[in-house]
């Protein structure tokens, strides 16, 4: 005998099941992600500065005051510039290198591919904190780097670097290239091998296969990787926080550290911090939009 009697009963049971399944997860998500995101934008337009959130000192809206403050702060531009460097290294360093490694491994141009892949991906899985302190000690005046340099150039003297961001960029390249390698390998595996074989039999060279078969098939993945690299670069916090803390003299600061300092160091300025994070989100979305536009404009079929 069927358990459901009427259509109305069935509908009601269906609705009840739907909401009991969806609500627990949705409520958690709304309260820790969706609401805070909206709240952040609202805060950036107020003069709230600590104290009880609701029912405390009255909070008033001050419009775009903090955004105005931001755009005249030289440290904002310094942080922005450093972030753009990281974006550049990610898009034009990690992605091409990752692609090269994936290509070599996927086409079986070397033996022991599994070993190479495992080792090259290894840095990506380790805690950023461990990586940051490790490299900080490695590059420090007392660390291994000056010693290593002296092996090649005995007159090498450790000095205060004129490009303090260099080590940070290097570590970012070191740490995340493996991730793009893995993404590309997974997508290379989706390409029909018989097409490549057929091209080879027809006399296509390795370069021609790459140019006319593999790259066009991967254009969608390249765009996704670029988007990942851009949003990842703008988010970078842990590594720099641990490696340099933004120093010396804020020379390696990035937007997220700039924001963190405003919110949690010294006298908190929550509205300003939220103005920074809102600007970060806007930059991220516009760069992603730009990437999509470039893809749309200059071909590349998914």
């Amino acid at each position: 005998m069927p358990k459901v009697h009427t259509l109305a009963d069935a509908k009601r049971e269906q609705r009840r099941a739907y909401w009991t399944l969806v609500l627990p997860g949705f409520l958690i998500y709304i309260s820790v992600m969706a609401f805070p995101t909206v709240f952040s934008v609202i805060l950036s337009l107020t003069d709230y500065n600590g104290g009880r959130l609701f029912g405390g000192k009255p909070v008033s809206f001050v419009g775009f005051k903090w955004y105005g403050r931001l755009f005249v702060d030289e440290y904002f531009y310094l942080a922005l510039k450093n972030n753009l460097w990281i974006v550049l290294v990610s898009v034009f360093g990690q992605i091409p290198l990752g692609f090269f490694l994936a290509y070599v491994l996927h086409r079986g141009l070397v033996r022991y591919g599994d070993f190479f892949q495992t080792m090259i991906y290894l840095p990506t899985v380790i805690s950023t904190v461990v990586i940051g302190i490790l490299w900080k000690s490695f590059f420090a005046p007392y660390g291994a780097f000056p010693e290593l340099m002296r092996l090649f150039n005995p007159s090498y003297e450790y000095g205060i670097s004129s490009h303090p961001l260099f080590p940070v960029l290097f570590v970012i390249l070191w740490m995340y290239t493996g991730m793009y390698m893995i993404i590309f390998i997974a997508n290379l595996q989706k390409i029909d091998g018989s097409v490549i074989e057929a091209a080879k039999i027809d006399g296509a060279s390795e370069g021609q296969t790459l140019r006319y078969i593999i790259l066009p098939a991967l254009s969608g993945v390249l765009v996704v990787s670029a988007i990942l690299a851009i949003s990842g670069s703008l988010k970078s916090f842990d590594l720099i926080y641990v490696m340099t803390g933004g120093g010396p003299a804020n020379r390696t600061t990035v937007l997220s550290i700039y924001m963190f300092d405003k919110a949690f160091k010294g006298a908190p300025n929550y509205p300003l911090a939220n103005a920074i994070s809102t600007v970060m989100v806007l930059i991220s979305f516009s760069l992603i939009g730009l990437t999509k536009w470039v893809e749309h404009k200059f071909g590349g079929k998914e």
């Binding site: 739907y18 969806v22 997860g25 805070p36 080792m119 842990d238």
Partner: protein
């Protein structure tokens, strides 16, 4: 194919050798710093100052003994296991429940609810950091493990929902419908049909949640201040980051901080790389 390989020209051979050289170079670049770290964690600080690049003359364990006790590592590791375990299980349960409803129970709200989760894939931790700090304080969860766990679960949800819904959609509707005709409730269908079938994608989501939660540093750093609640990364940063001259101990602490993820990676290599590739579908 065979004879083509055997008659490789000298140019092709040089190419092969060059490819090996390049691959070996990248491999050495990737693991040398880690080997350097491990090697130096077995030297006394005095030896390190005189011998920064070579093997230890004498392998000592004293750094580990010191760091383990003074860095309070047993507590940190236990905390990290709790945070990661609870977050992963809760994320799997809640996100697959909702994913099942989105994929198999028709409802007009699905478009908006599912859409709001997908937007979550693009949101950044930075944009919620300050509000979350204020809200957690306001509701009195600052410095509690619940105040860390709830945000962790919420942050991991979008990926779980996204991958879960995609996968459950691919399960034939007929399976759910025939179970309904036989009188099974949606809950029973979820437990006895969906969960077993969705196991492979659940593994992917679990692995992504484990790596993300275990390594998370920024939020827990601002949402807690008590020693008893610190996770391994925070503990390592506070302890090892503060040791600016006691290198042996610092390196030992870093190795302790590195080992759990290393073991996890080497045990689930295939699943982890599959998860990374799956996660890149977003965007």
């Amino acid at each position: 194919m065979r004879d083509i390989k055997d008659t490789k020209s000298i140019g092709a051979r040089i190419n092969t050798v060059l490819t090996y050289v390049v691959m070996i170079f990248f491999t050495v670049m990737a693991i040398y710093p880690l080997l350097w770290l491990v090697m130096n964690s077995f030297k006394t600080t005095t030896e390190f100052q005189m011998n920064k690049l070579g093997f230890p003359k004498e392998w000592v364990l004293v750094n580990y003994q010191d760091a383990w006790v003074r860095g309070k590592f047993p507590r940190l590791i236990l905390n990290s296991f709790i945070y990661t375990g609870v977050t992963t299980v809760a994320t799997l349960v809640f996100s697959f429940m909702a994913a099942f409803a989105f994929a198999k129970i028709p409802n007009r709200s699905t478009k908006y609810l599912h859409g709001s989760f997908v937007i979550g894939l693009l949101l950044t931790l930075q944009s919620i950091m300050v509000p979350l700090f204020l809200i957690i304080n306001w509701v009195g969860l600052y410095n509690t493990s619940l105040g860390v766990l709830i945000p962790y679960i919420g942050i991991a949800m979008p990926m779980g929902i996204y991958l879960g819904t995609e996968f459950i959609k691919s399960i034939p509707d007929a399976l759910v419908e025939s179970a309904r005709i036989d009188g099974a409730t949606y809950w029973k269908i979820f437990i006895s049909i969906i969960v077993p079938m969705a196991a492979p994608v659940a593994v992917t989501v679990a692995i992504m949640t484990v790596t993300g939660t275990w390594n998370e540093f920024m939020l827990i750093n601002i949402l807690t201040s008590s020693d008893a609640l610190k996770s391994l990364p925070v503990g390592v940063q506070k302890f090892a980051g503060a040791l600016s001259s006691d290198f042996g101990k610092q390196f030992a602490a870093l190795v302790i901080g590195l080992v759990p993820m290393l073991v996890f990676y080497l045990s689930f290599r295939k699943e982890i790389t599959k998860g990374v590739a799956a996660g890149a579908v977003k965007g």
